[in-house]
């Protein structure tokens, strides 16, 4: 089972995602902004995957910037993006290599499928 950092500025959505991940046996860490997430990433805690919203507060591509920085800190980190906006080619160009994407609104079932895919080898 994995440790997943959830970065989401909408608290209800974040808590619920965490709840489901825990239902499936994972551990969840939480952050509500890029800055908070970087603090967690810079700590010594084990983190297997980053599940981040893209539009974070005022930062339109905050999740994309975060993932790039996160990978510099932890090159082995797996990344799953989510956003309410359409995943255009322009947006996908900002994604880190090997990352996954899950559009909003996602059901728990879709989240589970995405996380399973993310954690596979």
């Amino acid at each position: 089972m994995a440790v997943i950092l959830i970065v989401e500025d909408e608290i209800f959505v974040r808590e619920l995602a965490g709840m489901f991940l825990q239902d499936w046996g994972h551990s969840a860490l939480f952050a509500g902004s890029v800055e908070e997430a970087l603090q967690v990433l810079k700590s010594a805690t084990t983190i297997d995957a980053l599940f981040t919203d893209i539009y974070l507060k005022k930062a339109v591509y905050g999740g994309c910037d975060l993932a790039r920085e996160a990978l510099m800190l932890r090159p082995e980190l797996r990344v799953l993006y989510t956003t309410g906006n359409r995943a255009t080619d322009e947006l996908r160009a900002l994604f880190v290599t090997g990352s996954h994407f899950l559009g909003k609104p996602y059901t728990p079932h879709q989240l589970q499928t995405s996380v399973d895919g993310l954690l596979q080898v």
């Binding site: 909408e10 209800f12 959505v13 619920l16 709840m19 489901f20 239902d23 539009y55 956003t83 309410g84 906006n85 359409r86 559009g103 909003k104 609104p105 996602y106 059901t107 728990p108 079932h109 879709q110 499928t113």
Partner: protein, 463 residues
């Protein structure tokens, strides 16, 4: 013999010819001369050239030629004389002069006079037209430039010169690709421009965004077409730069607003999906499927925002793309990755107006959910979502290759109010459910709907 031949030639050439002796007395003239200047032999021969026809040939330019130029040279060609003759009006003549060296005629002069008035007038008119064009060009706000066959600048409007911060002289003779920091040297543009003249293929709407020395960042729309000048076989190209910076900015603002709205709506829908998911955790297993169906209905509405924001503002939504999105989400949310049920789309390129897209999407969602729920007790099968134009209507089909459903499983009493979702959505769309056909494997639900673009029909509203 040779004497006769020479005089024959003199009489037949179209140029006016006269010979003068050393005292500038006319010794002979040809027929062309008499015709051009409306005179005759008796008035001409023996007359001093300046005295001819009330001294109308006493022209300063001609005096210069005869008295100052000829004495020092054997011949003069292309000497231009413009003069307003009392009888024939303003004329431009090209005079060729040659001294004759023959025994007894030393110092004689042969003058060939060609009337080039019309040619000169045409050239003047053309120049005037060009100046007029240039002055019109200069008053147009959009930068424009006229290019020669080899893509070099012939003339440029003031707006164009301002755009690059150069003078007319600096622009002249340069290629568009060489202007500024060569930022217009774009293969796609070059390719288009190369086709304008040889293939007479104008182009429009080539968009280019750049930073300009005076103007700053601008977006231009380029148009080019072939232009021809009257009396000139050479073709040139008119290249117009339409400044669409402001329009582009408005479009970007609208897009970012649409994105912002879509983002908020999706987040709210995510909350609703989350609320349902939360309920599911404490719901007995038999009820879970109902909640899952609810989630896919919400998903069907959510996908619309993607498609609407992607289509032109206020424009129609591509039905085939919408069906594919629905199929994709339903597969992801209702079927496990190990499921042997597949959902495919076989639709024509039809469109649907955004107002009716929601009931349409929900209708497809219900029919597909029904198929998955009832058609495949063994958990294996194929569902196809189809849309095609039949007569003047849209025929929506949801077909499965399963065990076949009873009519009440597909839809309950569609003609009465209430009933189930399918009936409500069909009524809302002003459509009707076609009766099932015998002998088809599985279940095929066919629904006829009015064409889904344009205002709803009266029946649609009345229903």
């Amino acid at each position: 013999m040779s004497e006769i031949a020479a005089s024959d030639i003199v009489e037949t050439v179209p140029s006016a010819l006269i010979t003068l002796d050393r005292n500038l007395i006319i010794t002979s003239a040809n027929r062309a001369f008499y015709q051009t200047f409306r005179t005759n032999r008796s008035e001409t021969e023996g007359c001093m050239i300046y005295d001819l026809g009330n001294r109308q040939w006493d022209i300063p330019a001609l005096r210069t030629l005869l008295e100052s130029v000829i004495p020092h040279r054997a011949s003069v060609e292309g000497f231009e004389v413009e003069h307003d003759f009392p009888l024939i009006g303003l004329r431009t003549m090209l005079v060729n002069a040659r001294k004759i060296y023959r025994a007894g005629n030393e110092g004689s002069i042969l003058l060939a006079i060609e009337d080039v008035s019309e040619e000169r007038a045409a050239r003047k008119e053309s120049k005037r037209a060009w100046q007029l064009t240039q002055s019109i060009v200069d008053t147009i706000r959009d930068p424009l430039v006229v290019l020669e066959n080899d893509m070099t600048v012939v003339t440029a409007s003031n707006a164009f010169l301002n755009m690059f911060g150069i003078t007319q002289a600096e622009a002249y003779g340069r290629r568009v690709s060489e202007l500024g920091q060569h930022q217009w040297d774009v293969p796609a543009l070059r390719h288009l421009m190369e086709k304008v003249l040889p293939e007479n293929k104008p182009f429009e709407n080539f968009e280019i965004e750049d930073v300009f020395p005076v103007l700053g960042r601008r977006v231009f729309n380029l148009n080019a077409r072939k232009i021809s000048q009257p009396g000139n076989h050479a073709h040139r190209m008119l290249l117009v730069f339409e400044d669409i910076t402001d329009r582009k900015q408005r479009e970007r603002d609208a897009l970012s607003l649409a994105n912002e709205i879509s983002h908020r709506i999706k987040n709210n829908l995510q909350i609703i999906v989350g609320l349902i998911a939360f309920e599911v955790r404490s719901t007995p297993k038999p009820c879970v499927q109902g909640y899952r169906s609810m989630q896919t209905r919400i998903g069907a509405i959510a996908q619309l925002y993607d498609l609407i924001s992607h289509s032109s503002r206020g424009g129609a939504v591509a039905m085939d793309a919408y069906l594919k999105e629905i199929a994709h989400t339903m597969s992801a949310s209702l079927l496990d990755s190990t499921s042997n049920i597949t959902i495919d789309v076989d639709a024509e390129a039809l469109e649907i107006d955004p107002e009716r897209a929601v009931p349409f999407g929900l209708l497809v969602n219900e029919l597909t959910t029904n198929a998955i729920k009832h058609a495949f007790p063994k958990g294996k099968g194929h569902v196809v979502l189809g849309a095609r134009k039949v007569d003047n209507e849209v025929e929506l089909t949801v077909a499965d290759d399963g065990v076949g459903q009873t009519r009440s499983e597909v839809v309950k009493t569609p003609e009465t109010r209430g009933a189930d979702y399918v009936a409500i959505f069909v009524r809302q769309l002003g459509g009707s459910i076609l009766p099932a056909r015998d002998g088809e494997p599985g279940t095929v639900v066919r629904i006829r709907l009015p064409l889904l673009v344009g205002p709803p029909t009266v029946e649609g509203l009345a229903a």
